[in-house]
């Protein structure tokens, strides 16, 4: 063989090896134990509850103790962090045994084994998503809200019809985006951004008239992220289905049932309501935008 042929041969070999490596086996075992005894829980790390959330994680979902105001789930502050510690307690974990890891929205849904037991970052439960991953029962139901600057021509909107001419923005992967397209149906397609931070940049650049987010996020954005912005209103209408947040599990994960039992318990004990009252005060003073 000439050297170039060798090179081609080697390249093929390498490509082949990479393919073979890429197709490594995944452990598809799901011992349907069904028992929620602490010793029998199926966990990625023995004796630890490994929970994933976003980075950075913002209030009201995750807060912190030392002045930043966000992104420290171990502070137990914030609605989602609070729920996780309440559930962990129900299942028999010590606080120190709750381990946090970070994933972004898309990492969490890629095929293959996961390095966390469940992922909590305001994932809306939908039938399409349920085909790929498993969800816990809903832990929160939200409404959509409109955030804009007070001098926007749409600040006085009282119905979704008033927003037909608006150029709206939403973050990717949110029900807010579906809500704009299915319920408000503006003449111009909404712009789609990766993060709420980009929404702010687009608002400042005058590229969008307003943004649609869930109500708790709207509180945080207007209070801390986009200076001078206001909540113009919360939408009365709901999208095709209520926007419910669930914890995300790899498909077939046996922990779901146990988490759901624990969630039921903290619902019944009033603990969940207490967390909701602490972090997600539903706005009495926020005007409603009718359908």
């Amino acid at each position: 063989m000439r050297s170039s042929t060798w090179a081609k041969f080697l390249i093929l070999l390498v490509a082949f090896a990479m393919l073979a490596a890429a197709c490594g086996d995944s452990d598809g075992d799901s011992g349907a134990s069904g028992s929620c005894e602490f010793e029998e829980l199926e966990l990625v790390t023995e004796g630890k509850l490994t929970v994933a959330t976003g980075e950075p994680a913002f209030p009201p979902w995750v807060g912190d103790n030392d002045g930043n105001g966000f992104d420290d789930p171990t502070s137990k502050l914030g609605f989602e962090a609070g729920i996780v510690y309440a559930l962990a307690e129900e299942l028999g974990f010590a606080e120190a045994d709750v381990v946090w890891v970070r994933t972004d929205f898309f990492d969490a849904i890629a095929p293959g084994p996961k390095d966390w037991d469940f992922n909590i970052q305001q994932y809306s439960i939908t039938a399409d998503r349920d085909e790929i991953m498993d969800f816990s029962d809903p832990y929160y139901t939200t409404r959509q809200a409109l955030v804009l600057y007070p001098d926007s021509p749409f600040a006085g909107a009282t119905s979704t019809d008033d927003l037909k001419d608006a150029i709206l923005g939403a973050a990717i992967g949110t029900t807010s985006l579906d809500f704009i397209e299915d319920v408000i149906k503006p003449d111009t397609d909404p712009n789609v951004y990766d993060e709420n931070v980009d929404l702010e940049a687009a608002m400042n650049a005058g590229q969008i008239d307003g943004l649609v987010v869930d109500l708790p996020a709207a509180y945080y954005i207007t209070a801390a992220q986009v200076e001078g912005s206001i909540i113009a209103g919360q939408f009365e209408a709901e999208a095709a289905a209520p926007d419910e947040y669930g914890m995300l599990f790899a498909e077939g994960n046996t922990l779901v049932g146990c988490i759901n039992d624990a969630l039921e318990t903290i619902k019944d004990s009033g603990k969940l309501q207490e967390l909701e009252d602490t972090y997600l005060t539903q706005g009495g003073g926020i005007p409603t935008i009718s359908d």
Binding site: G24, F106, G112, D128, R129, I132, I172, D178, A205, Q207
Partner: protein
């Protein structure tokens, strides 16, 4: 590309691997071997992939035909925006970068400030990641709220692409201009042409011909980089696939988008090869 050896000796080369057309049987045998090895390699690769334990999960999430069909209209609509963006950008880039390259090629102390300006522009822009340029221009300039300055994200996204690519393409042109023999410039000047005229009528036409493959290469690259304007909230093809994936947790839309991009870029790549080959053959015909 020309064969330097052939250029030197003014005839077919006698050293190195022969470039003479092979005999019929040899060609047929080669084709058979190539076909067989391709089939075997692809067969083995497919077998490894399709029999792996995780394949069903991957297929469901990446190669789900129903999902690909369902996501197609939105993604195709976004891809149409991509196509319009890169065609418009390419026209602007080819023009602007040629001007920059010509400025950079001017001789003589009088043109120093212009040359320095062109070099500074090329160095600075090539040192900035294109995504940063898009973000800075797309969100930064409109936020200044200057009267009369457009705010459109598409406008600034396109501007960022044009600026960035013009810096690279100017260097491609310059390589072409420098590949034209110095005697051409001198002859043109001795005929009484000004520097600009010499560039315009004698040097640049030859230079462009030398770098057409490189220009087409840049064109293929631009086609894909256009998708980066998504960071400004613009819903082009890749972004529509993103949105679909976020909504359904299904990545099949990315495969749809990949196919659309390939449908455009592969023909361009083939055309580049064909053109280069034809050019080489013509030059050989001339030199023989």
């Amino acid at each position: 590309m020309t064969d330097p050896v052939e250029e030197l000796v003014g005839g077919p080369r006698l050293i190195g691997p022969p470039r003479s057309p092979r005999s019929r049987e040899e060609g047929a045998r080669g084709a058979l071997i190539a076909a067989a090895s391709t089939v075997i390699f692809l067969g083995v690769a497919l077998w490894v992939i399709l029999t792996s334990e995780a394949w069903p999960a991957v297929q469901r999430q990446f190669f789900n035909w129903d999902r690909m069909v369902e996501s197609f209209p939105d993604i195709a609509g976004g891809f149409w925006l991509d196509i319009r963006l890169f065609l418009l950008a390419e026209v602007l880039i080819l023009t602007i970068s040629l001007v920059i390259a010509m400025i950079r090629s001017l001789r003589g102390p009088a043109f120093f400030p212009l040359r320095a300006l062109a070099i500074t522009f090329i160095d600075l822009i090539r040192g900035v990641p294109i995504i940063l340029l898009i973000l800075l221009l797309g969100f930064g300039v409109p936020a200044l709220q200057l009267p009369g300055v457009p705010r459109s994200a598409i406008f600034w996204g396109l501007t960022a692409l044009v600026i960035s690519y013009s810096a690279y393409t100017a260097e491609v042109y310059r390589a072409g201009i420098e590949s034209v023999h110095e005697s051409q410039r001198m002859s043109a000047r001795s005929l009484g042409l000004t520097q600009i005229q010499a560039l315009r009528y004698v040097i640049v036409p030859q230079a462009i011909r030398n770098v057409i493959p490189a220009l087409l290469n840049g064109f293929v690259s631009l086609q894909k980089d256009v998708a980066l304007v998504f960071v400004l909230g613009i819903r082009e093809g890749v972004r529509e696939a993103d949105i679909y994936a976020a909504r359904t947790f299904n990545y099949s839309g990315y495969v749809t988008a990949t196919i659309l991009f390939l449908l455009v870029s592969v023909p361009v790549a083939r055309f580049t090869d064909w053109y280069t080959d034809r050019d080489r053959r013509r030059k050989q015909a001339v030199s023989n």
